[in-house]
Symmetry: C2
Subunit: 335 residues, 2 copies
């Protein structure tokens, strides 16, 4: 195992923020990305933590993304809030939209947030969790570059098209799941490639369409969707909602304009949220807590997010461990 270094959360935040500022982010963007990335790291989501920072930097240096984008949300229909992210990174657009979006959901019962011309490179659960903490339920989805072949096909066409869904709980952190619609998260395959591990053959195919356990071959070929043709249908739905519905780029269109700098590609994100109280479900927190308790009675069943919350309680004391080489790369990129 490669050498690692333990950082306090404050040290981690400074490391991330300094690097972003040094590479052309303004303070608002640097703060939003730092919050997102350090939250991921503090919750054990290493594949979307500081591991992604060199990608952000690459996109700032190549000029693909505007680190000083200044997006503002606008209401474009009674139930639709839209924010044109003006070619910026997603975290600031999401932070800037949240209050107006939560208010809209509470007044309408259901509303959608369309984030356009944006570069998303982060976990989805963070934006869902912050909305769900307001007593709402929320569903988020986004696309990226084409990495996944539809079931039956042999070429990358879908992105790993993640879906995150969250439900509020009484006196507990929300239940939030965040899953790639690929059999494996691309971040996990990238980590396996970096660390020289193999992956299950269900994870993807090589450039000739043959199943392989070598993550490097999958990165040259195509990933597979989870759950066969049903997962493939879900991945297609994500493309239609997070790209087609909101008039943004499909993953295959993104590929045609991306400069290949390794950073986040341009595209859209859709968040749909609902207020159970406006659906007449006044006792929804008690009702669904009974459901979660019944579910957790089965052996081997763990509620999504439980491990994140456990880790999040620990890391303020323990700090987080990252590869030493990654820390050094970030310092070098900071200059």
């Amino acid at each position: 195992m490669s050498e690692r270094v333990t950082l306090s959360l404050d040290e981690l935040r400074s490391l991330i923020r300094n690097c972003l500022i040094a590479n052309g982010c303004d303070e608002a963007n640097a703060d939003a990305i730092t919050d997102n990335m350090s939250s991921a790291e503090a919750s054990g989501s290493a594949s979307h933590g500081i591991f992604r920072l060199p990608g952000y930097v690459a996109s700032l240096r190549s000029g693909k993304v505007d680190g000083k984008a200044d997006p503002q949300p606008e209401q474009i229909a009674p139930g639709v809030l839209r924010i044109d992210n003006r070619n910026g990174f997603a975290p600031l657009a999401i932070d800037r939209s949240r209050t107006a979006f939560v208010d809209l959901v509470k007044s309408q019962g259901i509303a959608a947030l369309s984030i356009n011309n944006s570069h998303h490179f982060a976990v989805l659960w963070i934006e869902v969790e912050k909305i769900v903490e307001q007593g709402l339920c929320a569903l988020a989805m986004t696309c990226h570059l084409p990495y996944v072949a539809p079931t039956g096909g042999n070429k990358p066409f879908f992105s790993t098209n993640p879906i995150a869904f969250g439900w509020p709980r009484k006196d507990k952190p929300p239940m939030v799941f965040d899953m790639a619609t690929s059999e494996m998260a691309r971040g996990e395959i990238m980590l396996a490639a970096r660390d020289g591990h193999s992956v299950p053959a269900s994870a993807g195919v090589d450039a000739d369409g043959n199943p392989t356990t070598d993550p490097n071959e999958i990165l040259k070929g195509a990933q597979s969707p989870f759950g066969g043709h049903k997962g493939s249908a879900i991945a297609m739905m994500v493309e239609l909602l997070a790209c087609g519905l909101i008039g943004d780029l499909f993953s295959y269109e993104t590929a045609q304009i991306d400069n290949g700098d390794g950073g986040p590609a341009r595209g859209g994100e859709l968040i749909i949220a609902m207020d159970p109280k406006r659906f007449g479900a006044e006792d929804y927190l008690d009702h669904t807590d009974r459901f979660f308790k019944e579910l957790a009675k089965q052996p081997g069943v763990r509620l999504p997010g439980d491990r994140r919350y456990k880790t999040r309680v620990e890391t303020p004391q323990t700090g987080v461990s990252i590869p030493l080489a990654l820390r050094d790369t970030v310092l070098e990129l900071t200059g």
Copy 2:
């Protein structure tokens, strides 16, 4: 193979409608169910065609369902339409809500339809397709009795929790998929049990939690969700949206009140629909048609619904073939 009989669509409709009327449906309910069931049969969805009619009759005879329910939709929030189905079958409630719901979606950009105290025993794609034909995209989900163990668990807890999603197409029928979140549709397992076929071991477990290829053992044990823990998370989301959000019965709660007559259980359904035009995607039909064309270029990829549309064009000429014994059962139930 058991003996079969071919019926014209008109003969099929009369057979269904007469049986429903003879067993206590009023004309409005009988017409709505007949439309739904004959459309399923005419499109090749045999598992949700006349095969389900004896279940409808059982629920009318046991008094579990009111065949004369007279539901009316009401708007309970700016973006939420609710219809209390007053213990009736789902098709009439859905037909009665459609116009108001489509209008609401077009004015709001996004809206939800909550169908409560309802008995759903049909394919979901029909209600989705009729909404999507108005130029909208729509997502529907519902629950039923617990048949599926969460991944890691060993007891039925989720229903087969189907999801249907549809997207409008230019000069073509909509793209609509309709999938159980179980590895196999319960209807398929029921058909396999009826016909003495085995099923893949991934379909479920016996009463002791062991994988089995015997559909009868799975019907006594538990089905498995599709796609492992990711499919299990999706199944949980369906419970939370189609039951928790709208204040209706979770599948495990439905089981506590169902009389076991084999007919449709009581519960809710949620439909979310969006108008791409209100999201600013004026050219969405052209944009997404290019997407579908790119997708269909891959070998082995077939768009969901294509087989249904092909069958639907043929059956007005060919009629539909059903088991002779089923036809006789229906005639006997009609008296």
